[in-house]
């Protein structure tokens, strides 16, 4: 039996304006709440989503953020996959370093998001867009 909650709770948000950044992070918070993450961790997840969603907006102009729940034995995760067809990242190490940003300012962005989540994978190439996958785990909540 595939978990019915898994199917229902997956959702995708198109990122095309700053309003979508808010929508995406609120959806992420809802998923985190379903897995009974503490309020602090819900905010952490929402902040990480906000950072990468805004990153899409700033560098690619448009993209998608897909959020879902994944179960693995006695733990569950909020999974976030952010995709864009933007210019891609030329130097990934540089982009991930804390404080880096080509558009100036704090630029905490990607490096910050990585700090907040348990798992963080980034695939990008110049001219081929960027895909970021991040997960945060929580002990599984069994339906009683």
């Amino acid at each position: 039996m595939s978990d019915p909650i898994e199917a229902v709770m997956a959702s995708e948000v198109t990122i095309a304006s700053d309003v979508d950044v808010v929508t995406a992070r609120q959806r992420g918070r809802e998923l985190a709440a379903e897995l009974t993450f503490s309020r602090g961790d819900q905010t952490v997840i929402a902040a990480a989503i906000s950072e990468i969603a805004r990153n899409i907006l700033t560098y690619a102009g448009r993209g998608t953020v897909r959020m879902s729940i994944k179960h693995d034995g006695d733990r569950s995760a909020v999974v976030v996959v952010a995709r864009d067809d933007g210019p891609g990242i030329a130097d990934i190490t540089l982009a991930m370093r804390d404080g880096y940003s080509t558009s100036g300012g704090l630029g905490v962005g990607l490096g910050g998001a990585r700090q907040l989540m348990d798992e963080f994978e980034l695939i990008s190439a110049v001219g081929e867009g960027t895909t970021i996958t991040m997960r945060k785990w929580h002990p599984r909540v069994h339906a009683r």
């Binding site: 304006s17 700053d18 309003v19 950044v21 808010v22 992070r25 609120q26 918070r29 503490s38 309020r39 602090g40 819900q42 905010t43 952490v44 929402a46 902040a47 906000s50 950072e51 805004r54 804390d98 404080g99 300012g105 704090l106 630029g107 905490v108 962005g109 910050g112 700090q115 907040l116």
Partner: protein, 123 residues
């Protein structure tokens, strides 16, 4: 969604009601900057009690806001940061360094009173 700004004597109080978009935040920064100049306000309180996530853009904008108002002679204090918002912020490395913060509106007003009274300039 525009943020309501109240004038209370020498102070301006902006209460953020709900989730703000980047555009709203930028708008707030400009509105407050303009009003501080217009009313010659001595202090600004930005109440973020209802804000559920503060990411790098929000922090950047608030810092710019504080800097702008300071250039025009007003001290800014951010009040009402929620415990879990603060928790997420410090993990992201966002410290709002150089910007005054207080627990709530009451504390914010007390802070402004003490600052304005001593005519202390924050560097």
């Amino acid at each position: 969604m525009e943020v309501p700004i109240l004038k209370q004597g020498d102070y301006l109080i902006a209460s953020i009601q709900s989730a703000l978009t980047d555009a709203d935040l930028t708008q707030l920064r400009e509105s407050l900057g303009e009003r501080v100049g217009r009313f010659r306000s001595r202090g600004v309180i930005v109440d973020v009690t209802a804000v559920d996530v503060m990411d790098s853009f929000a922090v950047r904008t608030l810092r710019d806001l504080a800097h702008t108002t300071w250039l025009r002679g007003a001290e800014t204090v951010i009040v009402g940061i929620q415990p879990d918002v603060a928790f997420a912020m410090v993990q992201l490395g966002l410290t709002l360094k150089g910007v005054a913060t207080a627990l709530d509106l009451e504390e914010g007003l007390a802070f402004l009173d003490s600052q304005v009274k001593h005519r202390r300039r924050r560097v």
